[in-house]
Every structure is written in structure tokens, then in C-alpha cells.
């Protein structure tokens, strides 16, 4: 009887310790080529990678204070989304990424469901811009945004239903200046 109890005790303690040791939240996988991300990060002086899948968005949503207007707005934005994946890389000099690498990123969004909304190619300081949307039954169910500048590379993938007006709500909030004014603070702006 004592031996059985001792074994139960050991099992219980082990379970408790394992539960304590396990990480609180799981990692979200990347929709972009992982090797490329690592290479870009290695060359960047600063980089930010944020990956939020549906579970993480739902988890974060619980900690948004609906009494604060900003948080309430965020909750409205993310509540139907399946994921937000953001990458931004700053380099100390131009030429730290190639067109082939940008093509490799764009290739992830090349299936027939994706439509090009904006495509800009420039050899000067402006760099490349791309906005693709995923259309399902004439509704936007995803968006890919890429902005490439000589010393900075940003790309975003939003998965899930988005209304364009919701994106315009981003301007003026979360530290983003309102559209129509030169307020990004980036040196490359004209």
C-alpha cells in the first residue's frame, strides 16, 4: 500500500513539475521561407519578426481592454483574422537583399487566388512595392504587403477576412500617422 502510494506521489510531483516547465504559449509557424528570413536577419542591423496565428490572436484578444478605445478597435480588427505575420529588416547599407530574394517571398502568394492590387518597381530610392489580395467569392480573405527600400525591407501577410476601410483605420492609430501626411519619419520619403 505504501509502495503504491509512494509511486502515485512520484507521478504527481513529476506531472506538476512538467506542467511548470512547459512554455506558456506555442510558437506560430512562418508563411515565408524560413531560411530566407534567417539570412535577412543575419544581415540586418535591426529586425522584427512577429507571427500571430489564430490561437495567438485569440489569446492576445483576452488581454485587450475593451474599455480603452484603441484596444477595442484592435479587437475588432483581429477578431476574424486567422493570422498576422510581419517582418521588418533594417540594414546599414543598400544592396543587402536581392531581387531574387524578393521574388522568393512573392512566390508564396502566386497561386491563382491571389490578385495583384499594387505593383511598383523602381530603380531609384523608392524600391519595390507590392500589395496582393486573396479573393474568395469576391471578398478579400488575405493580404500580402511588401515594401522594399534600399536600407529597409518590410513584408506583411494578413490571413483572414479584411475590409479595406479597416486597414485605413490603422492610420492615425498605433503610432501610425494619418494617411495623406508625410509623417512616417522615414528618410527615404520624398
Amino acid at each position: 500500500m505504501i509502495r503504491i502510494f509512494s509511486r502515485l506521489l512520484l507521478a504527481l510531483v513529476t506531472s506538476l513539475l512538467l506542467a511548470w516547465a512547459l512554455p506558456a504559449a506555442s510558437q506560430s509557424s512562418s508563411p515565408f521561407p524560413v531560411t530566407l528570413e534567417k539570412d535577412l536577419a543575419a544581415r540586418a542591423v535591426n529586425f522584427t519578426e512577429v507571427s500571430l496565428d489564430k490561437n495567438m490572436l485569440a489569446f492576445a484578444s483576452k488581454f485587450l481592454d475593451s474599455k480603452k478605445s484603441d484596444d477595442a478597435q484592435v479587437r475588432r480588427l483581429i477578431e476574424k483574422l486567422d493570422g498576422i505575420y510581419v517582418r521588418t529588416y533594417e540594414f546599414d547599407k543598400a544592396g543587402q537583399y536581392s531581387e531574387a530574394e524578393l521574388d522568393a517571398i512573392r512566390h508564396q502568394f502566386s497561386s491563382p487566388v491571389w490578385s495583384v492590387m499594387v505593383r511598383g518597381r523602381s530603380r531609384d530610392a523608392d524600391g519595390d512595392t507590392d500589395i496582393y489580395v486573396k479573393l474568395v467569392n469576391n471578398e478579400i480573405q488575405g493580404m500580402f504587403i511588401l515594401n522594399a527600400e534600399p536600407k529597409e525591407l518590410d513584408f506583411v501577410y494578413i490571413s483572414g477576412p479584411i475590409r479595406p476601410e479597416e486597414l485605413s483605420e490603422l492610420s492615425g492609430n498605433f503610432g501610425v500617422p494619418k494617411l495623406g501626411k508625410n509623417a512616417t519619419g522615414k528618410e527615404s520619403d520624398k
Partner: protein
Amino acid sequence: MVDFDPEFEQELREGLRPRPAPTGFSNRVMLRVEKQASRPPLGFLHLPALRWALAGILILAVVIGGYRELQRRLAGERARRQVLLALHITGSTLQAIHNKIEPSNGGD
């Protein structure tokens, strides 16, 4: 329901009056009761070491539970900040694209 025969039922009552227990029955019962009372209850929990171990586990469970809740809250705050950051970067990127496309709106 059939009407019972009251006489027969009375016969049953008289015939089924409790019969006496065997002689010395209560003594034998009390002997066993006293023997039972002298045995420690719940065997293994009588051991002080195991009682302490059980108390320790309960305390550990409470501490771990509290720590997990704190971890959860911190993780939640991190997730919230990440959402805000992601939306900020998205907004900035769109703004930059907009400025490129419509540079006249981007100037002073």
C-alpha cells in the same frame, strides 16, 4: 391489490417477533470493536513522513498554480504588445506605399 387476510398477517407478526441473539453476542461484538479501535485509521496516512509529503505536494500545487497564472498574464501582455506592434508595422508599411504611389499627398 388483493386484500390481505388480517388474521394471517397477525400470525406472521407474532411468528416473526425478533428471536434473541445468541448468548454473549454483545460481548463478542465489543471485543471486535475494541480491537478495531486500537488499529490506526487509514494505514499509510498514519505515517508522519507521508503526511508531510502530502502537505508538501498540496503547497507545491498552489505555488505552481499561482506561478502559471502569472506566466499566463505575462504571456498575454506580450501577445497584446505583439499584436499592436504588428498592426503598427502594417500601418507604417501601407503608409510608406501610399506615399510612394501618391507622393503629392505625402508632401507638405
